[in-house]
């Protein structure tokens, strides 16, 4: 007997039986699973201001790089994606390769943070963190690594305070929002941001999550969970899956005023690349970025399209600048095997060569 779609009935029955077996074993796995392990690389709290915390990672080599680097993560989601578990930790890889790392943890904004502005983040928290590191290491300049939106903030910071930055690394960082090939950028352009911020004050993380899920509704809401059935009877694979799952929905709220300006002036008006963005009393001129620049992008990035990242290299005033493109996705830049084998080693060696 053959079904009308010409898919033999026998293989179908076999698949169904296998699936059932996995489901039964999976239930047992899930009852006993331990998926701790994210954000476990050793670090100490060295500075804090409001909800922002500055951590210093414990060096894993005897003589780490002389110039420490500050990692500035995005306000969206949490930094521990770079330290998702010890086997795949991007941060651990950087430490093991000799970098001295600091990281800003933005925390979880609450209602009282609705009035925080881009100035507070860039000229306040980031600047204070940089000053702390400079003072602690008795250095004029430190290295800055910006990730995604944190990369945009780092770029702005480096343009405003070039005297404090030795080398700038930007990863999956949007700078040119005038492109048409990124859904997030396209949708953001049409949004009534004022209405969102005026309504919420502090924009909830769940609101952001719905937006991200809608970017790939089938893949992120259905297919992903169908795929997990294959891993159900494997505790390690399931633990990896659950760690990522936890991270994906661990979305901090967004401080309203900063969110309003970032979306309006960057996403909608594309002021940064045009040289029209004003932070504090200063216009952000990307040509002020004269320090070495390493710009790293993910070719399959569905959140920050490569076209929004590439223009940075032409916009800055640096002579020593490099653009690296990897065939990975936005998150794959940190958690994929390529991240361990290619991205982290490149970043580390590039910085160390310029930190002597």
């Amino acid at each position: 007997m053959e079904n009308k779609w010409n898919m033999g009935l026998e293989p179908m029955l076999e698949e169904m039986a296998q699936m059932q077996e996995k489901m039964i074993k999976g239930a047992e796995v899930l009852m006993n699973i331990n998926f701790e392990g994210s954000d476990q690389t050793e670090k100490s709290l060295v500075y804090q201001e409001d909800k922002m915390r500055l951590y210093h990672y414990k060096a894993t080599v005897k003589k780490p790089c002389k110039i420490p680097a500050l990692i500035v993560y995005a306000l969206v989601n949490r930094h521990y994606m770079m330290d998702i578990d010890q086997e795949k930790s991007f941060i651990k890889k950087l430490l093991d390769s000799g970098l001295d790392l600091y990281l800003i943890d933005w925390g979880y904004p609450t209602a009282e943070d609705r009035y925080l502005t881009l100035e507070d983040y860039i000229n306040g928290y980031i600047d204070n963190a940089i000053d702390y590191i400079r003072k602690e290491h008795k250095l004029e300049k430190v290295n800055l690594i910006g990730v995604c939106q944190g990369g945009t903030f780092s770029t702005i910071y480096a343009a405003l305070h070039p005297d404090k930055i030795k080398n700038l690394v930007t990863m999956v960082t949007p700078v040119d929002f005038g492109v048409e090939d990124g859904l997030l950028i396209k949708w953001s352009k049409a949004m009534n941001v004022d209405n969102i911020v005026d309504t919420y004050g502090v924009v909830p993380g769940s609101f952001m999550n719905y937006g991200f899920l809608l970017l790939k509704p089938y893949g992120l809401m259905i297919d992903k969970y169908i795929g997990v059935i294959d891993k159900l009877d494997d505790p390690d694979s399931m633990a990896n899956f659950l760690r990522m799952e936890k991270w994906i929905f661990d979305s901090p709220a967004q401080a309203g005023e900063a969110f309003r300006r970032f979306l309006k002036e960057c996403y909608q008006e594309n002021k940064l690349i045009k040289g029209e963005l004003i932070i504090g009393n200063s216009k952000v001129n990307l040509k002020n970025i004269t320090m070495p620049l390493l710009n790293m992008l993910a070719l399959y990035d569905h959140l920050v399209p490569p076209s929004a990242t590439r223009p940075l290299n032409d916009a800055v005033g640096s002579e020593d600048k490099e653009l690296m493109e990897y065939p990975v996705g936005h998150i794959g830049m940190y958690v994929s095997s390529r991240a361990q084998k290619e991205v982290a080693p490149k970043l580390s060696s590039w910085l160390q060569e310029r930190s002597k």
């Binding site: 352009k189 969102i196 509704p217």
Partner: protein
């Protein structure tokens, strides 16, 4: 007063009908000249023979008809004209119904009814009201204007719904029996348009009285809820439409692939193929300007609903000894400003301390 009026009215009616009856008594055949009780002003030959006599007949006729009526001659002439107009209206109806020109189908009957209806009140005024005493005419006029306003209002209110009933029915049929998502989306859009032109206006009417603000807020919340629901339905309709169309495409393509034997062989392969197709379809729709606008509208309507619900909730809770979100926002602003001041002062102090340390003279 009422009895006087009724007497006047019935007398006027009686006289009028008698006068008309006499006027149109047959002028030919067996009827004798002496049988003519009324004026014969329509008999033009005798009119020519004796103009003065006919003029008297006419005035007698008017006198008979309106002998209980206290109006000026000008008014009377006006009423005569109105009467003729009424007659003409009836004639028009008859003419329209005349077998030589009239085809008795639904459309033609509807047309005549509409024409008749449009002339109806004028007809009543000409035929009936003109003969009422002044006070009653004034009362009628007020009533008439009120009725007309009411009719217009109701007509304006229901026109959006009655105007596209056929269209709605057709779309509903396609949606139900042909599983057509375009029809579903179109129904929602049309329904919303109708709502905006009718019920929304009622909800947006200004309220009065001590609870004015609360009433307006409640109505506004209802309106925002309806807008939110319809926008969401449209949005998800679009999303489901993509899924449905993709599945149709996949089935068609699969049938084609089967001919050459290239079709996915297992369920897993088929699922992968389908998932890839559906992702492609979503990307295609998502990147359109229309979808971005729809997305923005969905978010906007969600925000509007939340804002109104929050305000309403604050209104309800205002009698309780609880701080409202708006109160807290004001407090947060104060705290934010104070924090910033403290930060600036702290930095200034640190700077001064550093300076004082650097300029301090060496200890003896």
């Amino acid at each position: 007063m009422a009895t006087d009026y009724l007497n006047q009215f019935f007398n006027a009616q009686k006289n009028m009908f008698e006068a008309w009856q006499n006027t149109f008594t047959a002028k030919t055949g067996t009827a004798k000249a002496e049988d003519k009780a009324g004026p014969d002003f329509m008999d033009f030959s005798s009119f020519q023979e004796n103009a003065m006599k006919n003029f008297k007949n006419i005035t007698d006729f008017y006198s008979n008809v309106f002998n209980d009526f206290t109006g000026s001659p000008a008014e009377i002439l006006q009423k005569m004209n109105q009467s003729m107009e009424m007659y003409n209206n009836v004639y028009k109806v008859w003419e329209n119904l005349n077998p030589k020109t009239f085809v008795p189908n639904t459309e033609n009957i509807q047309k005549i009814l509409e024409e008749w209806s449009s002339q109806y009140w004028k007809f009543i005024e000409a035929n009936y009201i003109a003969h009422l005493p002044d006070p009653m005419q004034k009362a009628y006029k007020q009533f008439s204007e009120m009725t007309e306003s009411y009719q217009n209002m109701m007509s304006n209110f229901f026109t959006p719904w009655t105007g596209n009933t056929d269209q709605l029915n057709e779309l509903a049929f396609k949606m139900t029996y042909m599983a057509n998502f375009d029809s579903f989306i179109a129904i929602v859009k049309l329904w919303k348009e109708n709502y905006d032109k009718s019920y929304k206006k009622i909800l947006n009417m200004p309220s009065i009285g001590i609870n004015r603000e609360l009433f307006e807020r409640q109505y506004d919340a209802i309106d925002k809820t309806i807008t939110f629901i319809t926008t969401y339905i449209e949005f998800f309709g679009q999303v489901f439409k993509v899924s449905q169309e993709t599945m149709q495409k996949v089935i068609t393509d699969y049938a084609e692939m089967m001919k050459s034997g290239n079709q996915p062989k297992t369920m897993e392969e088929f699922h992968k193929y389908w998932a890839k197709e559906i992702d492609k379809s979503f990307d295609k729709v998502y990147l359109t300007d229309d979808f971005s606008k729809l997305m923005s509208t969905v978010v906007d309507s969600t925000m509007e609903l939340k804002k109104e619900s929050d305000k309403l909730m604050e209104e309800y809770l205002s009698i309780l000894p609880l701080p409202k979100k708006s109160d807290m926002d004001s407090l947060y602003k104060t705290i934010y400003n104070l924090k910033n001041e403290v930060k600036v002062l702290k930095k200034e102090l640190e700077r001064l301390n550093e300076r004082s340390v650097s300029v301090q003279p060496e200890a003896k």
